[in-house]
């Protein structure tokens, strides 16, 4: 019987290199073996050929870091190949949760008081004040519906796109990613209404009226359609 052998590794050319499709139903060791065979059977590279980037798509198979390393190693043995990206359809639960946390807005009704530090992985919508000596910290942007009189640190994991907006802006410090902006001394007694802070291309923190956000951070608009 002439049974067609199931191919576990498929090579496809794209315009920026080629992509290795790895089957997700065979065992990992089988896959590794076949990958090795497939790559060695191919064309012998010349000394002065340019390096070729390879994308690896693992389908519905989840690879841990060690397994990813093993696949990369096999591909790197071919001197002219380097792995550009590993693509997979699956995420671990942890990764998925982190991704979800980092992309959601956490809404809290609370006054952040002196000595308290409030931290969220994603965006923060605070319905309440941040009092002096209180700190709010967010992986994304910070929106305060109240008086911001303490410290706000947006994008603290290094997100330069993050912004800080407050109904009443009278902060002790504004921080975005790695930059710190100390409050000017000339704030009026009651602070400024409806202001926002964001980072420009030179990594300076700019504080301005809310309406400029539309220009500098158009991506903040999540509403599609409508008006």
């Amino acid at each position: 019987m002439n049974k067609r052998i199931q191919q576990n590794v498929m090579i496809k050319g794209t315009k920026d290199g080629f992509m290795l499709h790895l089957d997700d139903s065979c065992s990992f060791s089988e896959l590794l073996k076949e990958l090795e065979v497939k790559l060695s059977a191919n064309y012998q590279f010349q000394e002065n050929d340019p390096s070729i980037s390879v994308k690896v798509h693992t389908g519905n198979r989840y690879l841990d870091e060690k397994q990813e390393e093993m696949i990369k190693e096999v591909i790197h043995k071919k001197k002219k190949l380097f792995v550009d990206e590993m693509i997979s359809n699956v995420l671990t639960k942890d990764e998925a949760n982190r991704w979800k946390d980092e992309n959601q807005v956490t809404t809290v009704t609370k006054v952040i008081r002196s000595g308290q530090v409030f931290e969220v992985p994603g965006d923060l919508l605070l319905i309440g004040d941040v009092n002096p000596d209180g700190t709010v910290r967010a992986g994304g942007s910070i929106y305060v519906m109240g008086q911001l009189r303490g410290i706000a640190h947006a994008g603290y994991k290094g997100n330069n796109e993050a912004i800080i907006a407050a109904s009443v802006m009278k902060p002790a410090q504004l921080r975005i990613a790695g930059q710190v902006n100390l409050s000017p001394d000339e704030y009026t007694k009651w602070g400024h209404d409806l202001e926002c802070a964001f980072m420009d291309e030179e990594e300076n923190i700019i504080i301005d009226k809310l309406q400029v956000l539309k220009k500098y951070r158009p991506n903040l608009n999540r509403l599609e359609g409508g008006l």
């Binding site: 008081r113 000595g115 309440g128 004040d129 009092n131 002096p132 000596d133």
Partner: protein
Amino acid sequence: MGEAIVITSGKGGVGKTTTSANLGTSLALLGKKVCLIDTDIGLRNLDVIMGLENRIIYDLVDVVEGRCKIHQALIKDKHFEDLLYLLPAPQNSDKSAVNEEQMRKLISDLKPDYDYILIDCPAGIEQGFRNAIAGADKAIIVTTAERPAVRDADRIIGLLEKEEQIEPPQLIINRIRGHLLHEDEEMDIDGVTDFLKIDLIGVIPDDDQVIVAANKKEPIAYNPDNRVSLAYRNIARRILGESVPLSPIGGEPKGFMSKLKKFFSVR
């Protein structure tokens, strides 16, 4: 079953002990049975303000360590038949002589016999503070209208909000000086309540008579004609659940009175 109220402030010297003594006296004057507990171990004051310091035999630590029965350590205030008692703090121990568990037990033992248990908290946020709030059901924050005191009150409120058994704290603003309010030199009452965002239960004017009364070993609340006394008695009535409007704070200059009256009438 009584209610335990802790009186605290964070910052020292804003009038916790004076407030405890006067609220206790005012509640007793309204016919409630009150026990005052001084938790400022090592730096007791409440006994002095109450004028009871010569009658201390046993103290808080003696009670929690079982060296005496609770009723042996409690000092009865002779102004009343059987309404006002004080449990003094020892002067020769430190704050770590008592732990939170012991305080909780002590207060639950006292609750059946009293309407109100007022706990006078030491300054700071260390063990003494933890002990004082351990058995409390309610909290009253005392602050003056100065930025450092308000900042510390803010910190204390934050710490109290983490304690689930304690109801949201209420605020007393102490030692309001009318003339400074007028000159805009002090944070005003609205400024403080706007900052702290908790319910205001009373405002106490600044008055030299409070010091005179303390030296006479008798809380000011016994004097029916004094405005501070009146303010404390009003707070006591608010604690009992009556709705008493805030009375105007008198102060120089004269024209200010009418202005303030107007200010309070719109509240």
